[in-house]
Symmetry: C2
Subunit: 227 residues, 2 copies
DNA sequence: TTCGGGTGTTTGGTATACCAAAATGGTTGA
DNA sequence: TCAACCATTTTGGTATACCAAACACCCGAA
């Protein structure tokens, strides 16, 4: 099986640090220093930085170190607009193309979330939620869509994760997921899209609320996640 | 102003060759040889190859030279499905957000195409057509959408260009563009989306017809564009 | 005290060499 | 004639050094 290159490995480690907050928004990634810390040369480090910049997690600046992206509310909202179009397309295509195996997997993930909603910790619950949406996209059987959707998940991960922690309303999430599954099972595209739209509207509202409290309580990048 | 890096310059030159057919589908891009031909080192060549692979124009293979992508009908169709969702979103947002300057630019491009349809050569006409669609996306004022849309234009460019050459029906294209502009001007999102949908349906039909004749008349990558 | 210039440091980009792995082609033996 | 093995070539990835540009800081002069 294809092993990861050193660049991919470095990118994964940095991505994890960014998504989990160890590298907070605004933190610089000094190419030479970080390469030395990881015991690698600049070439794979440079490649890894490129990978993460393409995913929207790092912001490249001319003649300066790249920094961890710190998307504004407008940028997050813009990305959610595109994500919404992609997820609505995936639901529409999945209604037409999902196999029984696809539907089984989607049901399994829906059940896993609803059965364990209060016992899962924040990160695990969030990842099951993401897996649910990814399973729907896979059921659309359109690799181009899957790739683009995945890149939006990357760039929106932290905003979604942090906003979801503020308001994890079990009944609402679970009922919306169930409604989406029901629409898929009955191949009722309009119903499935309407349920997903409600879910996405709630996401946008949560993100807005999150940014509002961010500007009230946070001083700046330094005030978050210690280095 | 920010000049291009050598890698970006190389990527642009290779992209042009790919899009214009000088480098046909399936042609290998040998990193060392092509770098030597262009008088550059492997480092920027490697970076340029990465850029084009991210745009879907090159296909990377393990332990083999990358080749010019040769998308199948299924891959092109998949990409058009996503492009359609993105363009429909852009029209919907543009109905809400377009400034008068945006509308002026869209009108100007529509007029340029309709006034010069038969006198423009294939490439120029195609590029005005693309500029028209790009202007609508700009009018949506969503940079994330603009970026993703641009990457789909890149990967679909050749299929669209070659299929458009087969059937360049002036009256149909021009009337659909006018209908889209009218919808934008009156901020009638439903009408603008319906006109765009018709335009996109025709694109898909053209691409299908193109692939059907491709499989009938073409022997293989060697039979197209001499090297 | 402020502004401008110079110097040093940091940085991205590039060139080049080397390594290891994979693929391909040829030869030999059954 | 076919299959297997070996050698050579091709390839991507990585390490390291160097260069030029940009930025920041300090000092001197007005």
């Amino acid at each position: 099986m294809a092993e990861q290159t050193r660049a991919e490995d470095i990118a994964n480690r940095l991505r994890r640090s960014i998504l989990h907050g160890t590298l907070p928004p605004g933190a610089p990634i000094k190419e030479r220093d970080t390469a030395a810390e990881m015991g690698v040369s600049r070439t794979p480090m440079r490649e890894a930085i490129r990978i993460l910049a393409n995913e929207g997690l790092l912001l490249l600046r001319p003649a300066r170190s790249p920094v961890v992206a710190s998307p504004t509310l407008a940028e997050v909202r813009d990305a959610i607009e595109v994500l919404s179009a992609l997820e609505l397309l995936s639901v529409r295509l999945a209604c037409d193309r999902a196999t029984e195996a696809d539907l089984d997997e989607i049901r399994r993930l829906e059940r896993e979330l609803s059965d364990n909603f209060t016992t899962l910790d924040d990160i695990d619950r969030f990842e099951v939620d993401m897996a649910f949406h990814l399973a729907i996209v896979r059921a659309a059987h359109n690799p181009a869509l899957a790739g683009t959707h995945r890149s939006y998940l990357g760039r929106l991960w932290r905003a979604r994760f942090l906003s979801a922690r503020r308001k994890s309303s079990r009944d609402s999430v679970v009922s919306q997921h169930r409604a989406i599954v029901a629409g898929l099972e009955t191949r009722d595209s309009a119903a499935a899209q309407a349920s997903l739209q409600a879910h996405l509207d709630r996401l946008l509202a949560n993100v807005r609320a999150f940014f509002e409290t961010e500007t009230e309580t946070e001083i700046g990048p330094e005030a978050s996640g210690a280095d």
